[in-house]
Symmetry: C4
């Protein structure tokens, strides 16, 4: 059995931050990262769009033996953020092997909706 | 590590376009494609049904370093489109390696429901 | 590239048929199968439970170049069916390689909820 | 074809127990395990957090030829349980190969929401 817990590069083609919320929970997405290594790892996140150049190399640190659930609306690089209501895609690269899951909570209409999937790893 | 970002052939067995919508969002599905290559890639999409012959080789272009979230109700070939309210399945083939995720928003009843999964790749 | 479109054996650990429905859509699950081969294929479905012996070898036919979205509440073998409101799990084996996705629509409360995932293949 | 039905180590980065419920169903998550082997298997579950040390080696038994849908709020080790409303992640290791799927039912607002994904296996 492979002892490397995860992979170095993960993809999420369906990114979308719902522009509105209703009810008591705010619409949001999370890139959920698990770092089973003893060491901290540094993520480089790239955001791809349909009609403009990518935002490249957004840096995020994840401590060793910890998880981090990263809200996509908090990602930023040199003043650029992910616009609301726009289709985009996510690439996550890391120094150490990790596991990545993507989830979205949409409360555009009053009762919330959820979706989630393990991201696609490069092996 | 493999440097090919994705695969050439992807499958989504559970396609279904909800025939009705309620509330402020319209029921729809999306085939979300990420093309990390510098080059544009051409997709060939085949639609399989339960009770009739497939619609083969619907062509879609995805630019290099871009994502495209393709709404399935907009796909068409020689006058054929995907009927609403009918179970079907999707095959996506591409010239360059890509990553594919499938999502559905169903607002048949008033508050929306979401589902999503990374598609199944041929390796 | 592998030319075999899919695998022969697939698993879905989270089966559950919601016992009640509300609103205009009925709670149900579907095992969605895509058979890209020219030939028909025969499925053997096994249902595992938490507290009783499995229902083994339920047979289902899927035509060549077709999809089939199988409702789990319609599966039966020698008078046994899957009880409502009970946790169970699904194994799907087939003569020819196929691709399998699992989806559930839950309308226990008035507005529907959806979940879906590509099943887990044996390779 | 591999005859080993599943893998020994599975990951779920997006764990979260919704702190509140509304309507007739209670918010909860399930780690759904399928053990196709004749033998019973012992799981060792580790829970990772964002800001504190993991809860390691929570033991759970799954009988042979059975499934078990484990509610995460019932897991405990030496008086520690998973707090509600806190992001966490799950690692499941087992003696025998198994298949693992993760699902969450969120009824924070009145109508329920569902999400599910096959967990990520180490191969």
């Amino acid at each position: 059995m492979n002892t490397r817990k995860g992979e170095h590069c993960w993809y999420i083609p369906d990114g979308y931050i719902p522009p509105t919320s209703a009810g008591q929970l705010t619409s949001h997405e999370a890139i959920c990262v698990l770092n089973c290594n003893e060491e901290n790892t540094r993520l480089e996140i790239t955001i791809y769009f349909e009609d403009r150049d990518p935002i490249e190399s957004i840096l995020v640190e994840v401590a060793g033996k910890r998880t981090k659930h990263i809200k996509t609306n908090e990602l930023h690089k040199e003043g650029r953020t992910i616009p609301l209501g726009v289709p985009y895609a996510i690439e996550v690269e890391s120094d150490y092997p990790i596991i990545v899951q993507y989830s979205r909570l949409d409360s555009t209409q009053k009762e919330l909706a959820l979706m989630s999937t393990i991201a696609y790893p490069l092996k």
